[in-house]
Symmetry: C2
Subunit: 411 residues, 2 copies
C-alpha cells in the first residue's frame, strides 16, 4: 500500500524568510526510512482563509496530513481553530491538558493566562497528544478519509512528538517497517559513490530496495531501506557488501560522527592528541571540543598562523621554514611533531596550507594542504589539493586530519 502523506506548515515567520522550516526535511527523511515519500508540502501563513483552503485541499488528497505550527498561545496561532472550523465542530477544553499546563506554569512560577488556556482547547473528538517537550499538546483528527496530525512548530517539540507518537503509529499502520542503514564515507565524491553502488543497485535481488545518497559535505552518506520479512538481515548483508566496495573510506554507520568516533577511540586507548593548525585555524580543535568529554583526549591545540609562532611555540626549525616555505611537507611534519612534544600527547597533528582566496601561486595553488600525523611509531604526511572556496578547503582539511587519526587508531 502506498500511503499518500502531505505536510502542511503554517506561520508568517516561515513566509518572510525569518525562519527556515527545517521540520519538514527532517520528517521527510524519517518517513523515507519507513519507505514513505511525502507527496506534497504546503506552507501558508497565519491567515484563516489560506489555512482553511490548505486544510481542505490537503485532506481531499491525502491519507495523512502532518501539520506543523500555529499551536502557540497568541492570536496568530490558528491551527486548532481552523481545523475545528473545517470539521464543522466546536473547540472543547481538554481538562487533562489544562491541568498539565497549570502544573507546567506553576513549576516555572508563572500564572496561566487566558491565552495559554487556548492551548488546551481542541476540536471536538480530537485525540490529544501530550507534549512533554513544551507547553502545547498536539492532536489528531479525521477529516474525510485523511488523518490529520497537528504538532507545534518548535523543532524540539515537533521532532519529539513525531519520534514518540507519530512514527511508531505509522510504522504499526504500515505493517512492517523497512530496515534502513546509513553508511558514512569520507574522501569519496557523491557521483563516485553512486557509480560504485550501481552493481548493488542494479542487482535484481535488490529490486525492492530503495537506495539514496546524501551529501553531508565533506562526507557522503549512502542509505538504503529494505522491505519484507527478511529486511534486517538483508540490510546488514548490503552493509557488508557496501563496506567491501568502499573499504577504508567508510568511517561509520548510522548516527556515528567522525569527531565523536575519534574522541571515543582515543579515550578507550587512554591516548591524547595535540594539534598544530595553520590554514584550518582552529577548526580541528573546534570539531573535537564540540564532543562532550573531549577534555580527556585533547590537552593542547595551537593555531600558529605566523612563522614566528610556529618556531617559538612549536619549535619548527627556522631553516626548515626558510628552505621549504610554511606550506610544505617538512613544515607539516615539524608541526605535528612539535604539537606532540609540547602537548605531551600520544599523537600530534600538523596542518599547513593555502585556504585562499589569496596566497596561491602556480606551484602551490589555493587549496594546497599538507597534513601530518606524528605518533608512537613515527610521522606520516599527505598532500592534498582541495577544490572550492575558503570554507570548503578548511572544512575538508579538518575532516581529513581527523580521518588520518581515525585510520591510525584503527590498528
Amino acid at each position: 500500500m502506498t500511503l499518500h502523506v502531505e505536510i502542511l506548515s503554517t506561520g508568517d515567520e516561515l513566509l518572510t524568510g525569518q525562519v527556515v522550516d527545517t521540520n519538514s526535511a527532517w520528517l521527510m527523511d524519517r518517513l523515507w526510512d519507513l519507505g514513505v515519500m511525502v507527496r506534497r508540502k504546503t506552507l501558508v501563513g497565519d491567515d484563516r482563509a489560506d489555512l482553511d483552503a490548505a486544510i481542505r485541499e490537503t485532506t481531499a488528497r491525502a491519507d495523512l496530513v502532518v501539520m506543523s505550527g500555529g499551536m502557540g498561545p497568541t492570536e496568530d496561532d490558528l491551527t486548532s481553530e481552523r481545523v475545528a472550523a473545517v470539521m464543522g465542530v466546536p473547540l472543547e477544553l481538554h481538562e487533562p491538558s489544562l491541568r498539565a499546563l497549570e502544573e507546567r506554569f506553576r513549576r516555572f512560577g508563572r500564572a496561566l493566562t487566558p491565552n495559554n488556556e487556548k492551548q488546551a482547547r481542541f476540536p471536538r473528538g480530537a485525540e490529544v497528544v501530550p507534549n512533554r517537550f513544551g507547553s502545547a499538546p498536539g492532536f489528531a483528527v479525521r477529516i474525510g478519509r485523511a488523518e490529520v496530525v497537528c504538532f507545534p512548530g518548535v523543532p524540539l517539540e515537533f521532532r519529539g512528538l513525531a519520534d514518540e507518537w507519530l512514527l511508531p503509529r505509522l510504522a504499526a499502520r504500515l505493517g512492517e517497517v523497512p530496515a534502513g542503514r546509513v553508511l558514512k564515507l569520507f574522501g569519496v565524491p557523491e557521483s563516485h559513490a553512486d557509480d560504485a553502488m550501481r552493481p548493488l543497485m542494479r542487482d535484481p535481488a535488490n529490486a525492492d530496495v530503495r537506495f539514496g545518497f546524501r551529501a553531508h559535505w565533506p562526507e557522503v552518506h549512502v542509505k538504503w531501506t529494505v522491505p519484507g520479512p527478511d529486511a534486517a538481515a538483508r540490510a546488514d548483508r548490503l552493509a557488508a557488501q557496501a563496506r567491501a566496495i568502499f573499504g577504508d573510506a567508510v568511517f561509520g554507520e548510522g548516527k556515528e560522527e567522525l569527531p565523536a568516533l575519534v574522541v571515543a577511540r582515543l579515550a578507550a586507548r587512554g591516548e591524547r592528541v595535540a594539534l598544530a593548525e595553520s590554514c584550518t585555524g582552529g577548526l580541528v580543535a573546534e570539531l573535537l571540543t564540540d564532543v562532550p568529554g573531549a577534555s580527556a583526549v585533547l590537552d593542547l591545540g595551537v593555531v600558529a598562523y605566523a612563522d614566528a609562532m610556529k618556531e617559538a611555540v612549536l619549535g619548527v626549525p627556522r631553516d626548515v621554514l626558510a628552505a621549504h616555505g610554511a606550506v610544505s611537507e617538512p613544515v607539516a611534519r615539524a608541526l605535528a611533531e612539535g604539537a606532540r612534544r609540547v602537548g605531551r600527547a600520544t599523537w600530534g597533528i600538523g596542518i599547513t596550507g593555502i585556504a585562499g582566496p589569496t596566497g596561491g601561486t602556480p606551484e602551490k595553488p589555493v587549496g594546497t594542504v599538507h597534513l601530518a600525523l606524528a605518533g608512537p611509531s613515527g610521522t606520516s604526511a599527505v598532500e592534498r589539493l582541495y577544490r572550492g572556496g575558503r570554507d570548503r578547503i578548511r572544512r575538508t582539511a579538518a575532516h581529513e586530519a581527523l580521518n588520518l587519526l581515525r585510520l591510525a587508531l584503527r590498528a
Copy 2:
C-alpha cells in the same frame, strides 16, 4: 497593490529530506525587502500529475508564481514540459540558448548530448532568461492572469537569476521599492529587542513601516522596510533612533559580520590579537580565521584544555590555578595576558568556562564562563552565565569574546 506571490518548488530530492529547499526562504527574505510577503509555498516531486495540478492551482490564485527546479537535462526534469502542457502549447527549440549551451560545453571540452539539448526547449511564447551561472536558462510565461517564472533549483543559479532578472523586474512593477535596513545586535534577547522597538513600531508616523526580527543566534537582527518617496531618509532616521535605543549592543548594519568587523578594525590599526581558549575550544580562532586576510591580525591561538598546558604554554601560574580553579576570573586574566605575551600581540583574549554537559557544580554551574581581554592599557574581565546546551554556550562565549574586542577597538 498587494501582489499575490507563490513559490512552487519541484524535485524528488526535496521530498525525501535529501536536500533542504533553502532557495525559498532566501527568496522570501528578498521579497520581504520589497514589501511583499509570499502567500503560499508548494513543494511537489518530479511527477507529471502532481506538477500539473500544482501549476494549475498556483496560477489560479497568484499574480506571480516562482518555480524552482526541474530544469536539468535528465528524464526527471519536467518543468518546461509540464508548463507547456498546462498552457496547451508545444515546446520549441530556442536557438540562442542552444548556441550558448554548445559554447559552454565546448569550453569544458565536452560534447552536447540530446539530453542537454532539452535545456534549450521552452514552451512556445516563453521569454527566455539567459543563465550565466550555469547551463539551464530560466524562462517566463503567462498562464491566465499569473506570470510564471521558472528558474533552475541549483542555489547559485536560482539566486543569481532572481537577483539579476526577477527582483529588479518586480521592483519596477511595484513602482517604488521600499528602503530596508538591518541592524545587528549582540547580547540582546529577541523578546527584549521586540519590547525595546515597541515605541518606534507603535509610532503613528511609522504606520506604513514593516518591522521584523530575525534570530541569527547568538545575534538578533532588527529589520524594517519603509515605503514611499521619502523612504531612504526615513529608513536612515529609524536606524539612528534604533541605534540610540540599543547603544553598544549594535555591532553592525546590513552585511557587516562581527568577525570580519574585528579583523578589519585590527588591520586598520595595524594591531594583532592572540587567543587563549579553554571551553570555546578553538571556536574564536575558527571564527576569525574564517575571514579572508585573518593572517594579518592573528598570529597565535592556543586551545589549552589541560591545566598543565595553561601553565606550560601560556605561563598561567600554578598557584593561581590551584587557588581559584581553572574556571575563574584570575585564570581568565592570566590566559589573556599569557596569550598576549607569548603571541607578541596588541591584544590577548582569555576564555575559561564550563560548556557542559558535565563538569558543573552548585557554585560554578554549566554555562559559567569567564572572559578576559588584555590590551595596551591593562586587562578587563567579565563573568557570564549562559543558558542552553554545550554548543550554544560555546558559540555565545566565542561571540562575546569578539564583541569585547570590538568594544575595545571602538575607542
